[in-house]
């Protein structure tokens, strides 16, 4: 297996199907640990990891932090807003400083696409991309895939619709790459101004109406809509967006009876998802959060657990 030889996890686009399967399989026993009274195993004792988030996020960061702690790694959060970044220090210098403190792994979130790739090239630490700009959010897609696989028994051949701001969504991209390796039929749906150019070359089908996109689907992944997109003129108003693209019981009529509804959170109720759906039986949003911890534990173990000498950068 190549995964434990990889230095970094930057995205799902260049991961092999077998590597994704190993992560998902490893997450199964990890989820058992979360459910125990004593939620700790010594696997990463003596390892140190740091989360560096250049963009606010509570759930992803907390999820990584607790995943590390359940595995006995020492986890530290670098609070970027209070660090030397504010003093104009270059990213390269910040990373160097963190590296020489002895961390084995860095979890990085950045608003600018490709920054984790840049960092990974310039440090000996392992780097996990926790979301970069509009590029990738691999662990979110992994937890989505885990959730779908757990509920459906398989990923093979499922019809999955991804709804919303595809243009700016790293969650959409990572899901497209990941699910695509399992033969899923992927549909993307949203207003044309939020659809990336040439998106269908990614082996997905683009739709502009929920009704058509949801026909016979097994899974719907609802993306968060950022309010500032409206201000930059990409759609007229949140109300019009909700009228066209909010996922409601009505919009699910043509979907499979046992359709799953996912949302990476945090939700804008009444904009991209209605409360009936968010709180209803088809939604697996809370489970996604639990599974997120399990998947991140699996990844941390697979990346940090082994021997250093085996790494091929």
């Amino acid at each position: 297996m190549k995964l434990d030889r990889r230095k970094d996890l930057l995205g799902l686009r260049d991961l092999e199907r077998e590597e994704i399967e190993l992560i998902l399989d490893t997450a199964v026993p990890m989820k058992d640990i979360i459910k125990r009274d004593i939620k700790k195993v010594p696997a990463l004792r003596g390892k140190a990891m740091v989360t560096v988030f250049y963009e606010p996020s509570t759930r992803t960061r907390t999820s990584f932090e607790i995943a590390g702690k359940y595995l006995s790694a020492d986890t530290v959060n670098l609070a970027v807003s209070t660090s030397s970044v504010q003093k104009g220090e270059s990213l390269r210098d910040t990373i160097k400083t963190i590296e020489v403190m002895g961390f084995d792994l860095m979890v990085m979130r950045h608003s600018m696409s490709g920054t984790p790739h840049y960092v990974a090239r310039n440090t000996k630490m392992r780097v996990i991309n926790a979301g970069d700009g509009a590029n990738e959010h691999p662990t979110q897609a992994l937890l989505d895939m885990y959730t779908i696989r757990e509920r459906k028994g398989t990923l093979e051949g499922l019809k999955v619709a991804i709804v919303g701001d595809i243009l700016h969504s790293r969650v959409a991209r990572s899901n497209i790459y990941g699910l695509g390796k399992f033969g899923c039929e992927i549909r993307v749906v949203g207003p044309s101004t939020l659809m990336p150019p040439e998106v269908e070359k990614l082996s997905v089908k683009a739709y502009y109406s929920l009704e058509e996109a949801f026909a016979d689907v097994d899974v719907i992944n609802v993306l968060r809509i950022q309010r500032e997109r409206q201000q930059s003129g990409l759609f007229p108003s949140l109300e019009e967006y909700a009228n066209l693209y909010m996922v409601t019981p009505e919009s699910l009529k043509k979907a499979k009876k046992d359709v799953l509804v996912l949302h990476p959170g945090p939700m804008n109720r009444g904009v991209e998802i209605s409360s009936e759906i968010a709180d209803g039986s088809k939604a697996v949003i809370d489970e996604q959060v639990t599974n997120g911890v399990a998947v991140r534990m699996a990844l941390l173990f697979l990346m940090m657990g082994g021997s250093k000498s085996e790494i091929v950068a």
């Binding site: 600018m112 490709g114 840049y118 700009g133 590029n135 991209r173 990336p196 150019p197 040439e198």
Partner: protein, 429 residues
Amino acid sequence: MKLLLKGGRVVDPANKIDGVNDVLIIDGKIAAVEPELAPQDCETVDVSGKIICPGFIDMHVHLREPGFEYKEDIASGTRAAAAGGFTAVCCMPNTKPVVDNIAVAGFVKERARKCGVVNVLPVGAISKGQGGKELAEIADLVAAGCVAISDDGKPVMRADIMRNALEYARMFALPVLSHCEDLNLSQDGQMHEGYYSTIYGLKGIPAVAEDIMAARDILLAKSTGAHVHICHLSTKGAVELVRRAKDEGISVSCEVTPHHLALSDKIVETYDADTKVYPPLRSEEHIAALREALNDGTVNCIATDHAPHEKESKDCEYHLASPGISGLETAVAVIMDKLVSKGLLDVKKMVELFTTGPAAALRIDRGTLTPGKPADITVIDPDVVKKVDPAVFYSKGRNTPFKGMEMKGWPCMTIVSGKVVARDGKVII
């Protein structure tokens, strides 16, 4: 002082020469271009197997002085030019302060005279401070020796200002070099908008952002009768617009860069900021259109848009990196390797694009081996193979996406006013 270049293939498009000839230089001027010359008391250099051309002109270079000497200065930039086979460069006015008045233009001329190793032809600004609001003192700039005006680095967004600039420049028969980019369409863009911007999750710069401004400026050139030159043309749409404008007899010319001819947007994959440049590296479709336009006369010249940067400007987040490529020392090799040696461009056409093409666009009397003219000569060795190694650049800017690539066909001698200033990539002055 006599120098004889013996036995090379002389390609001098202006004089319709293409064949083995000797070139005799006496006192810094071309004395004769003929077969089998045998003058007395003459230093002779055997250049058999090499291509002898009129000195190459790069009409789009950022020498960064004054103000950004940590990126480049006139001494380092002209050395880079010499090493790269250029005998003359036009330097852009986006310095600090901007070349928008006679004093700064004079400073550039004076520095070039003192420490330049190739000819430096300054370009003045269109607007004061390149602010796009008030015209610069264009008559003064002409008096100081500026060969053109441009706000390069930024477009002139206001059509009324561009129209006035063209009207005014017409009085001096001065070409106006236009950086075509609609900032509202390109804002915050990091790379060409298309399949790869979708995959890499970077905000795209649509081709139409260039097309719209090219169309506007062509229409303004038509209505004013002035000459507009489109800088670093990079899109299929703009190619078509220029082609049609030329058919219609509008006074328009354009340049393309080696990087837009050689590299596609796919290369952004690793987020190496050395691939970041404005206009961005385009998709294959646009590259094909540019290559076609090189051959059918739509494109007048190849220019590097040499944009050197210090390490820190590129060694950072892609989004925060400065755009630009240090191009003087790779341009000839890139064109030789990617186009000429692949049969996509013949040597004669290449020489035109580096000599008579830019000279005509700028309306300057250069780019020939006519006896009596200053002996500015570029010699190319079409067979030598070398890897691009930014560490040995004369330019302070080591920012090149060509790093590590092997190229066949390099400039091997640069002669300015009869003096050999560079040999085999090394400046010897």
